[in-house]
């Protein structure tokens, strides 16, 4: 078992003819992902050079020939919201947007549409997700993953990899790892992903990685306290980040007291969550809880 994604998930790549899209489509297929086709508006009827995959002008065109369960978006940021909206309108169940730099206003529009649809959006500005030894959607390096019992969710890409690596190295392995994205407006919140992990029998423990900015970790902490029956290890990046400065991620900026790392760590601990003191201690902390 896993969440959101398994080896049978049929995946479409939006922006497949671009350099990122074609490179990662190939990487995904190498890992075992079932990539079935791609979309680039205006390039329909061609085949993507590397993978010999059919390319369509639109998702609806693709849907006439393939069952599409998920789509991954490698589209320049100014067109990415339009690509997400196309996927929502085509009723694709899982939409993963890798693109970084989408205007916040565009994402507010997307989010409002999303709330009225049955689609799930992961990202934007994220590495995507990976179900160990089955399938990956996005750019997570596959070789670091081993099947196991820990679910991972994170606002940061490389911290997701770091967490996977540590959890694998302490002998636990992962079910699914989800990078939810570093933007202020994202499709799936921490709570959304925690709910999936709660319902997955193979996931015995959860690593939740947050950072400064926003209150998502605080909301998630309270939700965990009231609803979740699995151990959670958390880590919050940005204890040394100055206030009011944007730390790389568009969403990583402290604008009020509750958005600091200290405030978040305090709330997480109050809600019974084990917080790793440093980034090095994520794996070992999980090991002490479920190892």
């Amino acid at each position: 078992m896993s969440i959101l994604l398994n080896k049978n998930t049929n995946i479409l790549v939006q922006g497949i003819t671009g350099s990122e899209g074609s490179f990662h489509a190939e990487q995904m297929m190498e890992y075992g992902s079932k990539v079935v086709c791609g979309v680039t508006p205006g390039k329909g009827g061609h085949t993507a050079t590397i993978n010999k995959l059919p390319v369509f002008n639109s998702i609806n065109e693709a849907k006439k020939e393939f069952q599409i369960d998920a789509t991954v978006i490698f589209v320049p940021p100014r067109f990415a919201a339009k690509a997400i909206i196309e996927a929502i309108e085509a009723s694709v169940q899982l939409i993963v947007c890798i693109s970084e730099g989408i205007p916040a206003r565009d994402m507010v529009t997307v989010k409002n549409m999303l709330d009225k649809s049955s689609s799930t959006l992961i990202g934007p500005n994220c590495p995507g997700l990976i179900t160990a030894e089955e399938s990956k959607i996005g750019i997570t390096p596959g070789f670091i993953c081993k099947k196991g019992s820990v679910g991972i969710l994170s606002r940061s890409g490389t911290l997701t990899y770091e967490a996977i690596d540590q959890v694998v190295n302490v002998g636990l392995g992962i079910t699914t790892a989800v990078g939810i994205g570093g933007d202020p407006v994202i499709g799936s919140s921490m709570i959304d992903i925690l709910k999936h992990f709660e319902n997955d029998d193979d996931t015995k423990g959860i690593v939740m990685i947050g950072e400064i900015g926003g209150n998502m970790e605080n909301d998630a902490a309270r939700w965990v306290k009231d609803n979740l029956n699995k151990p959670v290890v958390s880590f919050i990046a940005g204890q040394t980040a100055p206030k009011g400065k944007r730390m790389g991620h568009a969403g990583a900026i402290i604008s009020e007291g509750s958005e600091t790392a200290e405030a978040k760590i305090k709330i997480l601990k109050e809600c019974g969550i084990s917080v790793a003191n440093t980034v090095s201690e994520i794996g070992i902390t999980m090991k002490t809880l479920i190892g």
């Binding site: 990487q27 940021p77 100014r78 730099g101 989408i102 205007p103 916040a104 206003r105 565009d106 507010v108 989010k111 409002n112 750019i139 997570t140 390096p141 070789f143 670091i144 994170s154 606002r155 940061s156 890409g157 490389t158 911290l159 990899y161 770091e162 690596d165 570093g182 202020p184 407006v185 990685i209 950072e211 400064i212 926003g214 209150n215 998502m216 909301d219 880590f235 990046a237 940005g238 204890q239 040394t240 980040a241 100055p242 009011g244 400065k245 730390m247 790389g248 991620h249 568009a250 969403g251 990583a252 790392a261 003191n277 440093t278 980034v279 090095s280």
Partner: protein, 388 residues
């Protein structure tokens, strides 16, 4: 992106928001003529001279002066233009005032606080208002939280209408003409200009029964600047840290801090976590630096150049998680960059991910002085210990 008050007011004016009028100048030679022009164009004797810097608290720092006469204005303008202004937001080093705004002085009856921003937890825009205007709103939030009223604008029908009504009632502004339209125009301005923050502190009522924006602070979503070339042109490079600007030219994300352990990392989250662990090990991080996904010789060399421009730096901690980029390539990149730049600081390298073991071997066997480490903890400890 931050912009100046006078620029924010130019944007507001396009949306028909009544503003306190004036002219911005940067040459002291223009002071006399500009004061006279403000006095005649806006039919006033008294003017205000306001320093234009990207930081709040200008008034308390001496950067805003009320001037009843031409002579006062002359004196204030000559003092403020070119001064090093220190406020609670500039840090102790202060900021050079390169521009001033000379405006009409208004007869103020009452001051209000007004802002529109995005509430991440509710996924909707929010009006934040208070009848305690003109002061530091964070202090009001702390001392008098009841004095701050919020009205959310979600995507339901009439949401804007209802929010506007709520703030007008809560500030008791019913008697003012067109105030409803003005708040709607402010929201229009916020949306259409891709603002992440539109703050007017204070918004004032005058003795002649007008509502006017006395000040304006507007932050624009940098990701949306491609839609607003006229706003992008407002970018004032002199307001930014020169090293941060230089890094941006290299495509690197760098923020200068006060410590002496330089950090070079791929990924924003890992970069923050690396700074944190340096601190945890008893050191002080000198910077945030995200070199991005493609950690190649070029980005690493540029990263070194930026970090070493900060003379406080005594050691450099490189922490790269090689995913798609293989660690052995990163290792060779680091070695080449160190050789080419002839570094004289301690460099500690921790590479994890694809081919990490091979990378460590390459580093250990190279003829340059590098310290390699396996875990972040070990790397941070070494980077801190070596300079004690």
């Amino acid at each position: 992106m931050k912009i100046h008050e006078y620029q924010a007011k130019e944007i507001l004016k396009k949306f028909n928001i009544p503003i306190q009028e004036g002219y911005a100048i940067e040459n002291s030679g223009d002071i006399d003529s500009t004061i006279k022009k403000v006095q005649s164009d806006f039919n006033c004797e008294a003017v205000i001279v306001k320093a234009q810097i990207h930081a709040g608290g200008r008034g308390k720092g001496g950067g805003v002066k009320y001037c009843p006469t031409f002579k006062d204005a002359q004196g204030a303008a000559n003092t403020i233009l070119g001064m090093n202004l220190i406020t609670h937001q500039t840090g102790p080093e202060g900021k050079m005032v390169n521009k001033i705004l000379i405006t009409e002085a208004l007869d103020i009856e009452k001051e209000y606080y007004f802002a529109i921003t995005f509430d991440r937890s509710k996924n909707s825009d929010v009006f934040i208002v208070s009848s305690e205007g003109g002061v530091d709103i964070e202090q009001v939030a702390e001392n008098n939280p009841d004095q701050i009223i919020k009205a959310w604008i979600d995507d339901s029908p009439n949401a804007l209408e209802n929010a506007v009504k709520k703030i007008i009632l809560s500030l008791s502004l019913q008697k003012f003409e067109n105030v409803e339209q003005m708040f709607k125009d402010l929201y229009k301005c916020y949306i259409e200009s891709d603002c992440s923050l539109l703050e007017i502190n204070p918004l004032v009522s005058t003795t002649s029964n007008q509502i006017i924006a006395l000040d304006a602070k507007v932050d624009i979503d940098s990701n949306a600047l491609f839609r607003h070339p006229e706003i992008a042109a407002y970018h004032d490079k002199s307001e930014e840290d020169p090293l941060e600007l230089k890094a941006a030219e290299y495509g690197l994300n760098y923020i200068k801090l006060d410590g002496n352990v330089g950090c070079m990392v791929n990924g924003a989250g890992l970069a923050m976590a690396t700074m944190d662990i340096v601190k945890h090990c008893g050191g002080e991080p000198a910077n945030f630096l995200d070199v991005g996904g493609a950690a190649n010789v070029e980005t690493i060399k540029n990263g070194f150049k930026i970090i070493l421009s900060d003379k406080n730096v005594k050691s450099i901690l490189i922490n790269i998680f090689g995913g798609i980029v293989r660690c052995d390539r990163v290792a060779n990149g680091v070695i080449q960059a160190v050789k080419e730049l002839d570094l004289d600081v301690v460099v500690v390298v921790r590479l994890q991910g694809t081919n990490a073991k091979l990378a460590k071997k390459i580093l250990d066997e190279s003829d340059i002085e590098l310290i390699s480490a396996e875990t972040i903890n070990e790397a941070a400890t070494k980077a801190v210990e070596m300079i004690k």
